[in-house]
């Protein structure tokens, strides 16, 4: 059979927690690609599969409750439907709670685009003894409805068949019916008539388009025809005055009235049962006294799981890279090359590859554990438990987990912000994570604390740095909130999904895609950063690496007046440039500058304890490493956010070190 050349677009739309992603994975397997929706920090996933003679591009739309947007995700979905409607809509509802999902189903059905509805988790519904009548749903919605389980694969062949049938005979589907108050109904019909007469070119049903325009604040944005848009706006104002409620709310009311009736009919009047397992688990996990201790215990396990397992793996990789590196350095073709080229290949390229690879174990483990927590339904519980603490920053409890994991490594933690619910939380959290004391920074602090302080004092210095990092996050959070960097916080109205056993398949696929993404999106950025630093340290060609004559040395000296009030000399400034590759390289940088052997003696002879602490504070807060910056850039797709992250760190670090060092001097330390 030959494939038709033009792929058909099928858009997968559903409310959150209906198993949409599982179905997406089930249909497309590993054939997926990820990106961002234009201009926003919302993830865009698409995949492909073959259906008879058709190639299908499946677009995984962000979870949305309705086409009248409140969140950025919903804006993306609304824009998508109005600007580039798909060939077919694939909608998913949860069999155990039809009412919840049918609101969106009805709205999508009204679009006039051919649609297939999946009643997902039919197996779990059966287990609870409440199977919806698929035929009733299909009759009322006017489109094929398939009961299936995306987890087990039950019903997938039937879904593919139904999709194929709809592609062949799109005319067989019809619109569902929703009754609204007469006033609204009349407005829809009138406006639809105007749209028809204006001969607006659209594949969407005209009544649907009329509804969309009436629900929009600025219909002009969606319509070339200014006259119709003006009428819509006028009509909206008039209706809102008469109905004393906003149009989106009035429409939601009509939809959910219809949804309630339809759900009741499909369930034959049987009441929706609470999930007994979830109820029992919540009684323990959200318990007034045990809830928080269990949460912290789980967080400890999570942290240990990611970094306890990831650390040794990282070391193993680093060891392997070192071994291969030194073998390369001694190999025949390499020694024949000029010294600068050897250095470029080994300390530039090879080093860059080592940095990129070193993140693999962490990212893999991070997403395995995060998927477990998220897919199981515990993430929502964590958000509930920690909400009180976090909402002062306008964040919810989920952000707490992201920031906490930053204390291991910033890179996966920033990548993990995409699970957060609102744009505000995502932006805020990714800007706050760099102020956590990650394990790479810890290496610097442990080393410096050990050489400048006695064994009894050193652990306290480290402890105080942790405490300080914690306060830095709060201070920075309040500042960022004050300046509305992430926009405005969104109301916290969160669904608590039933607990569910995560599948190996979905956890595995998620992790695999995250690694692939990291390699394709962040790796080049990281390589570029590492190479840039190599050039700074090694150029001009005849200079001693990292010496005063190199670009880095010149930069350090040029910046000397800026760093002098902090007690940081130009040599340390140069090592801060090293730290841009990865924080732990600051140590290597110090070794290079102070001439390697007996670094401790050189350092203590050169700078005081006060200066050392000032340097540590600066290291804690200043610009995160290149991999973190790369992650922030790929997650936010915003130069502004990335620049704020770079800038806020530098400014905050400078102010802190300045205050600390100058106060220290005042009190007679030197």
């Amino acid at each position: 059979m030959t494939l038709t050349p033009e792929p058909l677009t099928v858009a997968l739309g559903a409310i959150p927690n209906s198993g949409k992603t599982t179905l997406f994975n089930r249909l497309t397997g590993a054939d997926q690609s990820t990106g961002n929706w234009p201009g926003v920090s919302v993830e865009k996933k698409s995949g492909a599969f073959v259906l008879g003679e058709y190639t299908i591009t499946l677009i995984d739309l962000p979870g949305a409750y309705a086409l009248s947007p409140v969140t950025q995700e919903e804006q993306v979905v609304r824009d998508y439907f109005l600007q580039s409607p798909p060939d077919i809509v694939l909608n998913v509802v949860d069999a155990r709670n039809l009412y919840r999902g049918l609101g969106l189903t009805l709205q999508l059905g009204l679009s006039g685009l051919p649609m297939v509805v999946c009643v997902n988790m039919i197996d779990e519904a059966r287990r609870q003894g409440m199977v919806p009548d698929i035929k009733v749903l299909s009759q009322h919605l006017g489109v094929p409805v398939i009961g299936l389980s995306a987890r087990t694969g039950e019903g997938i062949p039937e879904l593919q068949e139904a999709l194929y049938e709809v592609i062949k005979h799109p005319e067989k589907t019809r619109l569902p019916h929703i009754s609204c108050p007469p006033l609204l109904e009349k407005a829809f019909v009138d406006l639809a008539g105007k749209i028809s007469r204006a001969e607006i070119d659209t594949r969407l049903d005209h009544t649907f388009l009329a509804m969309r325009l009436l629900e929009e604040d600025s219909p002009h944005q969606w319509l070339q025809n200014n006259q119709v848009a003006a009428i819509a706006q006028q009509l909206r104002r008039h209706l809102e005055q008469t109905l004393k409620t906003s149009i989106p709310v009035a429409c939601a009311d009509c939809r959910f009235n219809a949804a309630r009736g339809l759900a009741l009919e499909a369930m034959h009047g049987q009441p929706v049962l609470e999930d007994r397992l979830s109820k029992a688990l919540d009684r323990i996990l959200l318990h007034r006294w045990f809830g928080l201790p269990i949460f912290f215990l789980l967080m400890l396990l999570l942290f240990q799981g990611v970094y306890g397992l990831g650390g040794p793996l990282q070391e193993l990789l680093a060891f392997a890279f070192d071994q291969v590196g030194s073998w390369l350095a001694g190999s025949q073709p390499m020694t024949a090359l000029p010294a600068w080229l050897q250095s470029f290949l080994l300390e530039g390229l090879w080093q860059g590859m080592a940095v990129v690879t070193s993140f693999f174990p962490l990212i893999a483990l991070f997403f395995i554990f995060m998927s477990l927590i998220e897919d199981s339904g515990y993430m929502a519980r964590a958000a509930f438990l920690m909400d009180r603490l976090m909402h002062h920053l306008g964040l919810d409890g989920k952000a707490f987990i992201s920031i906490l994991l930053g204390y291991g490594c910033n890179v996966p933690a920033v990548m993990g912000t995409r699970i957060l619910t609102s744009n505000y939380s995502r932006v805020m959290t990714m800007l706050l994570i760099p102020f956590t004391l990650c394990t790479a920074r810890l290496q610097i602090f442990v080393f410096l604390a050990a050489i400048f302080f006695s064994a009894a004092v050193a652990p306290w210095i480290i402890f105080l740095l942790y405490v300080f990092s914690f306060f830095a996050i709060i201070i920075m959070g309040l500042v960022l909130k004050l300046f509305h960097i992430g926009g405005r916080p969104e109301p916290f109205i969160m669904e608590m999904p039933p607990y569910r056993l995560p599948t190996v398949r979905s956890v595995g696929l998620r992790t695999w895609h995250e690694l692939k993404d990291f390699l394709s999106r962040a790796a080049t950025f990281i390589m570029a950063g590492v190479l840039l630093v190599w050039f700074l340290i090694h150029m001009p060609i005849d200079a001693q690496p990292a010496s005063a004559a190199t670009w880095a040395g010149q930069l350090g000296q040029a910046l000397a007046p800026v760093f002098k009030p902090l007690g940081i000399g130009w040599q340390e400034t140069v090592t801060l440039i090293f730290g841009f590759i990865a924080k732990e390289i600051v140590l290597g940088g110090l070794a290079v500058i102070y001439g390697g052997a007996n670094l401790a003696a050189h350092m203590t002879g050169h700078i005081s304890a006060l200066q050392a602490i000032s340097f540590m504070l600066f290291c804690l807060l200043y610009t995160p490493c290149v991999a973190t910056i790369a992650a922030i850039w790929t997650e936010s797709r915003s130069i502004k956010i990335t620049a704020i992250s770079l800038g806020s760190g530098l400014v905050f670090a400078w102010i802190t070190s300045f205050i600390f060092y100058q106060t220290g001097l005042l009190f007679g330390f030197s």
């Binding site: 009248s68 409140v70 929706v272 959200l286 007034r288 509930f384 009180r388």
Partner: protein, 162 residues
């Protein structure tokens, strides 16, 4: 006229009918899109350990977390509450809807004639143990605070209409 109160002021296990979604446009729209609308039945399941956030069940089987601060303007009409509650009006009839405790608690209550479906009255609230008048049998019993908290009573139909 049945009393209306903010959802945020409800204690755990209270049930109510939502009357208004409040005034913040974003919050109202969000609630409406999730199917939480005036007329919906809402039950407070629990308050978060640190306070400030509540878990509610709307309609049947949909559970949501809400911030008390953000739903302060959302008003409702309480229909059921624990027997120890500020909402209980002295001298008014309430029907026992559910006993939250296990089998032992249920048997202990039944021994005193307290079971689902009967009408009760509290004449002096705030006393420990709580004196409860059983309307049908005319008997008076005393219940511990912990016991009374596990008795969920509903406003009787007659009082709702008035």
């Amino acid at each position: 006229m049945p009393q209306q109160m903010p959802v945020s002021a409800l204690q755990a296990q209270c049930e109510c009918i939502i009357r208004s979604l409040g005034s913040d446009e974003k919050t109202v729209q969000r609630l409406a899109q999730m199917g939480i609308l005036p007329g919906s039945h809402l039950r407070v399941i629990r308050v978060a350990p640190l306070g400030g956030t509540i878990e509610v069940m709307v309609g049947q089987g949909q559970s949501f977390a809400l911030r008390q601060e953000e739903v302060a303007a959302m008003t409702c009409e309480p229909v059921a509450m624990p027997l120890v509650s500020e909402l209980i009006i002295a001298g008014q009839n309430y029907r026992i809807r559910t006993l939250l405790g296990g089998g032992t608690f249920r048997r202990r209550m039944e021994k005193q004639g307290v079971k689902e479906g009967i009408l009760v009255q509290v004449n002096k609230s705030g006393k420990k143990p709580l004196p409860v008048h059983l309307v049908d049998s005319g008997e008076d019993v005393e219940l511990g605070e912990g016991e009374a908290k596990k008795l969920i009573v509903e406003v009787t139909a007659g009082d709702l209409d008035s």
